[in-house]
């Protein structure tokens, strides 16, 4: 069965410090990978998605970047955190192969980031 691991669960960082959040998926190959941010327990904002190694699409201009160094690894980074980067960060994956009408998303358990 497929599983998704995301860590750390919580993180407190000072303004201006770097960030690295990691997400790995097991039990599947060539998944589509996603980073979402959720503010104050509300709607999800898509930050990045990737359909393959080294292929990253950015949805909103921001202080963050993403990388996919391996097929099932997705990393969210920042060189210098801002206060506005605080939030709940969720990694997700979906099946990529075949002709499908819709994509189910399978989410990790999230990272609560507080920038102080």
């Amino acid at each position: 069965s497929q599983t998704i691991h995301q860590w750390p669960a919580t993180l407190v960082q000072p303004v201006g410090s770097p960030l690295s959040l990691e997400c790995t998926v097991e039990g599947t190959s060539n998944p589509n990978l996603y980073w979402y941010r959720q503010a104050a327990g509300r709607g999800l904002q898509l930050l990045f998605y990737s359909v393959g190694i080294g292929q990253i699409s950015s949805e909103v201009p921001q202080n963050l970047s993403a990388s996919r160094p391996q097929d099932r690894q997705f990393i969210l980074s920042s060189k210098k955190l801002l206060l506005s980067d605080s939030g709940f960060y969720l990694c997700a994956w979906s099946v990529s192969r075949g002709r499908v009408l819709f994509r189910k998303l399978f989410f990790g358990s999230g990272t609560q980031l507080s920038v102080l």
């Binding site: 327990g41 709607g43 999800l44 009408l101 819709f102 994509r103 998303l105 399978f106």
Partner: protein
């Protein structure tokens, strides 16, 4: 611009009551999904609706996709405290892309015992 509007934003009811929450858009979606999220966890998929007018039932939960595929509703019968959570709708597209889902802001449901 918020493509998917969910209402109400907050709903607090007593155990045993019925409720309906709504997800509306001016855009046509190829499919629409409903997720439930508990505090400190990622959302979990409840259902996907694809065909206009489609109705799906999941135990006490009934999901409907509008005929024009622009809106959806979730009805819960005899709500229980275990139904408490954030209910999110998400649309695939619009524009034909099914790589991405657009999420609404959610309805935060509290069912009091």
């Amino acid at each position: 611009t918020q493509l998917l509007e969910q209402s109400p934003q907050f709903l607090s009811i007593q155990e045993g009551e019925n409720l309906t929450v709504y997800c509306n858009s001016s855009s046509v979606f190829s499919s629409l999904q409903w997720y439930r999220q508990e505090p400190g966890e990622g959302p979990v998929l409840l259902v996907t609706v694809v065909t206009g007018g489609e109705v799906k039932k999941l135990k006490r939960l009934t999901f409907q996709f509008g005929d024009a595929r622009k809106d959806s509703s979730l009805h819960i019968t005899a709500a229980q405290p275990g139904d408490t959570g954030l209910y999110l709708c998400a649309g695939a597209g619009p524009g034909g892309s099914n790589y991405k889902l657009t999420f609404g802001k959610g309805t935060l449901l509290t069912v009091n015992p």
